[in-house]
Subunit: 378 residues, 2 copies
């Protein structure tokens, strides 16, 4: 197989997933020259730094040489005082308080909806621009919901250095991964309807869920009963409907996020979407089977060419060798992989396509997208 | 959770999956009185008795008290001579030859397409009725393709005891599981279009694939490279597009089976179907996300009632407790489980439904369906 992606990225004090994802270099082995600590760069805070996405924020900041002036590591009281090295400097985790945001230009939040609802407005009041990975503000009409490859214009009015705080929401992981692939096709042929079925990894439920999948798998292989703490049922060698609450219309919250967020991001109230979200025993990258119905004809070769030239997309579509996107191949990678690109036999002419999409849920589905948003502020 | 299914079933000399499926009683602990060995019952042959489906043929014959007069265990030369006990009688595996079918009334084939193509016609010539689990004859217009709950009438002309051989084809596992659930709805509201995404278990690729998934998982957890023999890539904690060959239209053979077999079984050349078939790291039951478009309105409550009363179907659709079908819960069970029954928001009025279906691939997806066909011959 060709090397489609850059080399796997380092992580920090996470130890859970080393066995289950491609090997990662330590910092010492990296030959990259550190450029990011700049006097005129923004001061950054990471809220929820001990979580799976919080850890990935650090990896991505480092990988992309994000030019911060200073960085503050924030988490709950439980983790406060913990020390670790990031970019050759020792950091101490601080407890998140309203004062944490004094002098902070950009805060990257990934500590759950209730922390965002409580501390997001506090940070904004103190002049911080918050890039929030939770669902707290996504559907707020005053908050831009942004995928940089898709709708960067939604945050045109927000600029760093104006001394004014603001909220910018990161879409849900499934929405990001789907729309990075679907939007270039939508621009050409206008999507009228989308039917999505997801194959979502443990990482979407956080680091503890990844640990539970690993623990359960060991237990089941040893003939023992699986430990069920995060999920209420066996996850190892099993799959189940997404654990988000089910609403009165029968859709769960994860599915409705995809419906509503897509309409907001595409600024298209009429686009028709249905989704079925399923949790599969995969560690950290999501897959999605996406059926598209277009207003204008779009043949599969044109679609493939469009996707090959689309930002943030890599096409893996080798029919002869049956090589298509997999969660493992996109783990620790930036790009969303698209394959199984084919004319939908169940629709007339070239008015329908089926595609299969994989993206790293922790990276492009969360941390990378947020930091791309932060980069646009610079 | 309520006990929705009968107690798990025994298997025979398989040892692979004990850890990964619910515990199974040994034969000795069963209190069932053996009724099936009947003087006037048919003589039966099991072709491919050492495979995952071959083993399940024996379980199902036993569970259902299938009234055979005698039973012949057939496999390749490699397995010939191997002895094992089935229903308190010692059996010796015989090598499959043309003479194997002399005096055999019903032969249950599950030894792959090439064995079926070679020995199916030989068996028919010797007066045997062949129920074939391979894809060899499914699309042959002279061969009925039967799901007993769906189209039993297709084999009305075939009767045991006429001294005439015949071929009857068992549909592909994904088709069976989908159509057991979709047909009752199709009868009421007529399905115009179906968009299916599958979550297929290791068992669909045979016992060796199940062993490989278990072995790979142990290896990955120990930090070793996974052994890839059956599949050309890591399966543990990963998923990939179904390993069937990809055709020039971009669909793989597994997907086209669903398209073509459904049209034949429903006797409806016009029904529109698209499918995306994905292999997930689950041991033995398939799941399918099915989006339905109807000619006539069908609301979700009516659909649920129809499914509750449908043969071979159990409804698991508890929104409040987020309890829906899972592969583990249907493993070793006869019924296809249906849940996530909801009005499709992306279609007008009540003209669309989403459902999520799980069925034991080895059982209803293969062995049970074949033996139900055999029962209809009696």
């Amino acid at each position: 197989m060709e090397a489609l992606f850059p080399f796997p990225k380092p992580t920090h004090f996470s130890s859970t997933t080393n066995l289950l994802t491609p090997p990662k270099p330590t910092f010492a082995s990296s030959t990259k020259v550190r450029m990011s600590l700049q006097e005129n760069g923004p001061s950054v805070a990471v809220v929820g730094v001990t979580g799976a996405v919080g850890q990935e924020f650090l990896s991505v900041l480092s990988d992309r040489n994000f030019p911060y002036r200073s960085i503050k590591m924030l988490a709950s009281k439980r983790s406060a005082g913990r020390r670790f090295t990031f970019e050759e400097k020792e950091h101490v985790i601080e407890e998140l308080t309203p004062e944490s945001f004094d002098g902070v230009d950009i805060a990257l939040f990934s500590a759950g909806g209730s922390i965002s609802r409580e501390f997001g407005p506090i940070a904004v009041e103190r002049g911080t621009i918050v890039v929030d990975n939770s669902s707290a503000f996504r559907m707020d009409e005053n908050v831009p919901l942004v995928i940089p490859e898709v709708n960067p214009e939604a945050m045109d009015h927000i600029k760093l250095g104006m001394g004014k705080g603001a909220l910018i929401a990161n879409p849900n992981c499934s929405t990001i991964i789907c729309l990075v692939a679907a939007t270039p096709l939508h621009r050409r042929a206008k999507v009228l309807r989308m039917v999505v079925s997801t194959y979502q990894a443990a990482s979407g439920a956080g680091a503890a869920a990844m640990e539970e999948l690993e623990l359960q798998t060991r237990e089941v292989l040893e003939g023992r009963s699986p430990t069920c703490k995060i999920f209420n049922q066996q996850y190892a060698f099993n799959l189940f409907s997404h654990n988000a609450s089910v609403l009165s219309n029968g859709y769960n919250e994860e599915e409705m996020k995809m419906v509503k967020e897509t309409r907001k991001i595409w600024n298209d109230k009429d686009v028709k979407i249905t989704a079925t979200c399923i949790r599969v025993p995969v560690m950290r990258a999501h897959a999605e089977s996406v059926n598209l119905q277009f207003e204008k004809p779009l043949d599969e070769d044109t679609a493939r060419d469009i996707l090959k030239n689309a930002p943030g997309v890599v096409v893996i579509d080798d029919r002869a060798s049956n090589h298509f996107p997999t969660p493992l191949e996109v783990s620790n990678k930036d790009d969303v992989a698209v394959g199984r690109i084919r004319r939908d036999l169940s629709q007339d002419g070239n008015l329908g396509l089926d595609i299969f999409v994989c993206g790293d849920q922790v990276r492009k589905g969360a941390a990378l997208n947020a930091i791309q948003i932060a980069e646009m502020l610079l």
